[in-house]
Symmetry: C2
Subunit: 510 residues, 2 copies
């Protein structure tokens, strides 16, 4: 232990004389904070009063866009997502804006042709985006290549994200090798994306040390505090020389979100790399976001706020397990819960140890259920066969060869060795034509949104053009309309049933 | 930073060759876990299936008794608390049992005469208690002396607890000096009791290092994860040579309770001092306590489960602030919340920087409210005057001399310099006589309970003797009876209001 400190200390002093600079905090409250804890429902109107203050704090970045934000803007908030980005950029011009991009899937769940990915990146860069956090659920670098190349061409910052998970093939060496591939693709920095909150302090220290030494790019760590490991993992990562960590602002922090900023500052108190921030402004920001959190009460849940020990016991992401319980209950298989859980490592191994993250967690869970219900591999789901056939990309480990033969036999298709997007034709011309055909504006922005969310875009554009002067409908979240309750979450009511008075509050039942 | 590691590493190797032994985990789920998260309502019946398993895990101690447990047993659960202790001891004979004792206050809020304290300690030791965690809210060693001396005389382990707080007089030197006083009183080990969850990793490292070096006794750290600092503070304390930390079991863990055991093991993964525990048994224990948590749903609250950023922003304990908001609302003073908060440091300073913990947090909060409402010191509360006059013991810093004069003038009483209990006469004879007079059994156990909870004890003894064969009523928690709702927390209901169907759940409102 002592020798480890010594060795680490010396190597840091020798190799990284800059490590005593403060660690950079990237602020996620405008994106992952509310995506993780309030179903991505924060509106631009709710953000704007805080944005100039966020811009003054000295954050290394403001994550303001990407992930589920574009979907939520179109589907629930009736906001033009590019307008949101422009508004946030205008309100916070000093701090680099950061977004999460799902590689070839852009911000959807399936691959898009290269020309759509390129157009999306260009439009985002033009609307003000500075730093693109780009990831692929399988860590297949081919699924990141087009996005990284386009970000490079736009003169913006490409951060290649490593999806962190645990399995026999997810060794330190494998992660570091992937880091090298990301560097060679043209990434400007490396992100460690711990979506399930599984990164331990030991793993964080090893991974950051290895990546810093072998890849030579800045490393930024993004953890979810789902299992209560994130803050300690950050400390270990910072000691190992990480350049940045992602933090949020309570109550959009901790639990399934990133650690709270003030909390992280206290945890780094006296640490030579602790950044200096105006705590009065942080307290003001917290008050602001507490009000917003109350406004979004229809979309928040105590289950997400508290730490989830399931993640630690079963070593699967917390969100997955709750979905999974619901699925088993629907199938009347709750008595076989333990069996299905025990089957999951078998399925995951056969599918090449794919990380458990949307949508792969659902694929693994469903197949484990089928194996228990009908006998192992008697019934293969279509998505499981698609993974076997390489349709999602290169799996981290090899898939089971017998099972692959079986998938080939059942589908009549050969396995794919090329990059999935290589099988897709250019679509931008067609997308523009489709928009023009229904009388909608055929800009690149509209075309890329139309590619991913055709109905939602059409709905937005119709409602926007219906407003005199073309003013966008910057609507309130649909909370009030969508929840069929006169009651507001977080408000107390006195309710009389029979002759008994009850003080009640109302909770959402997922 | 590097030099700190070097210095620390070397001093540890030189001074504490034993530091590479695993850190001891004391398990609090049977006491502080449910006291912090379920209003101390876990019954012996709910505990017993888990106790033999807990006894096999290799915990350094099982906290099973003390704090609010005796009160809750008598008042709500209709259990004889000494019977509980004997039952738990019989079910877990291998692991030392640990209790929390409030010094001269025993398990109440005011001082008791020495003979009552002595009798209580002797009865507890005879019923099976091994380790007595003894504290005083003001850290006045005179309020611990009788308890420590009696524990010594019984041949049991006395742990002197240091209530951790922050103030100009609560310096590292002052805490270490108090540690020396505790050693000189006869304590066998030192506890750091961080009731408000304010201990940062830096403070933990300094405090443990200082106490280990200057006091020379084993040091055990007890943190609440209220603000999300506890797990990191534990790691820092363990690196600095702490002998033990207190952990609980989810869902009776994290938030306002101690960190979860499995979580803590993950956070220490690869650490040379990580203890080895059977994770399958831990998973079984978690399942067991999850069921119990559901049974106690009437007493749990999401607000306690999640981290409380208020604690970090206002630097006052989380529980205090929520009480405080209610008090201000009752007084229609919510618009003066900021003013009252700003007044608190003024009051705390005038009262000699007393730690903010029950009951001193209420005393400081109420006086701050009075100061804002009527003008500073225009209206002095009786408890504030009692603090000034020394009736709670010696304050950490000197009280304001002008204010003390004012308290003397208003009460006509002189300040107390002696130990508060020195003014109390022996009571055991009188207590036994009172029991005998109403036909109740006059054992020492009954006498000490009668001293603290006369009505509750009488209620218990009457209900017990009413059962044929004298069998104790080991009742369910009063949840069902005590909460005037037909609805059960955690259950979904469909509720029709007007012509709208609602799925509802019900929450307790403090």
């Amino acid at each position: 232990m002592v020798w480890l400190w010594l060795a680490l200390g010396v190597s840091l002093v020798v190799s990284f004389p800059g490590m005593i600079s403060p660690v950079g905090f990237t602020q996620t409250v405008l994106r992952d904070g509310h995506q993780s804890l309030a179903a991505t429902r924060m509106t631009t109107r709710q953000m704007l009063p805080a944005v100039p203050v966020l811009d003054e704090m000295g954050f290394a970045g403001l994550e303001t866009w990407g992930g589920a934000v574009i979907d939520a803007c179109l589907r629930y908030l009736r906001e033009n997502p590019f307008d949101r980005l422009r508004a946030l950029k205008e309100a916070a011009p000093r701090t680099p804006h950061v977004m999460l991009l799902r590689g070839q899937n852009i911000v959807q769940y399936t691959s898009f042709p290269d020309d759509v990915v390129e157009a999306f990146v260009r439009c985002s860069a033009e609307a003000g985006m500075d730093v693109f956090r780009i990831f692929d659920a399988l860590n297949d670098p081919r699924n990141l290549a087009t996005a990284v190349r386009t970000v490079n061409a736009c003169g913006k910052h490409a951060r290649g994200e490593i999806c962190y998970t645990t399995s026999p093939v997810h060794t330190l060496e494998a992660f570091v090798a992937f880091g090298r591939e990301l560097r060679d693709l043209g990434c400007d920095s490396i992100g460690i994306k711990d979506m399930a909150g599984l990164l331990t302090p030991k793993a964080a220290a090893e991974l950051v040390t290895g990546l810093k030494r072998e890849v030579g790019l800045p490393v930024v760590v993004h953890c979810h505090d789902t299992a209560g490991l994130a803050a300690c993992a950050y400390r270990a990562a910072i000691d190992a020389g990480a350049d940045g960590v992602d933090v949020s602002i309570a109550p959009f922090a901790n639990g399934t979100s990133q650690p709270d900023t003030i909390r992280m500052l206290r945890l780094l108190e006296g640490h030579p790399r602790c950044p200096s921030m105006d705590e009065e402004k942080l307290a003001w920001l917290r008050q602001h976001f507490e009000e917003v959190y109350r406004e979004l009460a229809a979309f928040t849940s105590p289950a997400n706020e508290r730490m989830d020990a399931d993640t630690l016991v079963y070593q699967v992401p917390g969100g997955m397990l709750s979905n999974f319980r619901n699925q088993l209950a629907e199938q009347k298989m709750m008595d076989r819960f333990a069996e299905v859980l025990a089957e999951m490592p078998v399925v995951r191994k056969a599918l090449g140890y794919i990380p458990l993250v949307t949508p792969t967690s659902q694929i693994v869970g469903s197949q484990a259920m089928l194996n228990v219900k009908f006998g192992r591999w008697k019934n293969l789901s279509q998505p499981a066969m698609d993974v076997l056939l390489g349709k999602y990309g290169r799996t981290p480990g090899p898939v089971d060869p017998e099972l692959l033969k079986e998938a080939v036999r059942r589908t009549g298709q050969e396995p794919i060795r090329e990059r999935p997007a290589d099988r897709l034709s250019a679509r931008m011309g067609e997308l523009r034509a489709e928009l023009a055909a229904v009388g909608l504006p055929e800009s690149d922005e509209h075309a890329v949104l139309h590619a991913m969310f055709p109905q939602e875009l059409a709905g937005l554009l119709k409602s926007a053009t219906a407003v005199p002067g073309g003013e966008r409908v910057r609507a309130q979240p649909e909370a009030k309309g969508a929840v069929p309750l006169p009651a507001r979450i977080g408000t107390r009511y006195k309710l009389r049933i029979g002759d008994v008075d009850h003080q009640i509050t109302v909770e959402e039942l997922n």
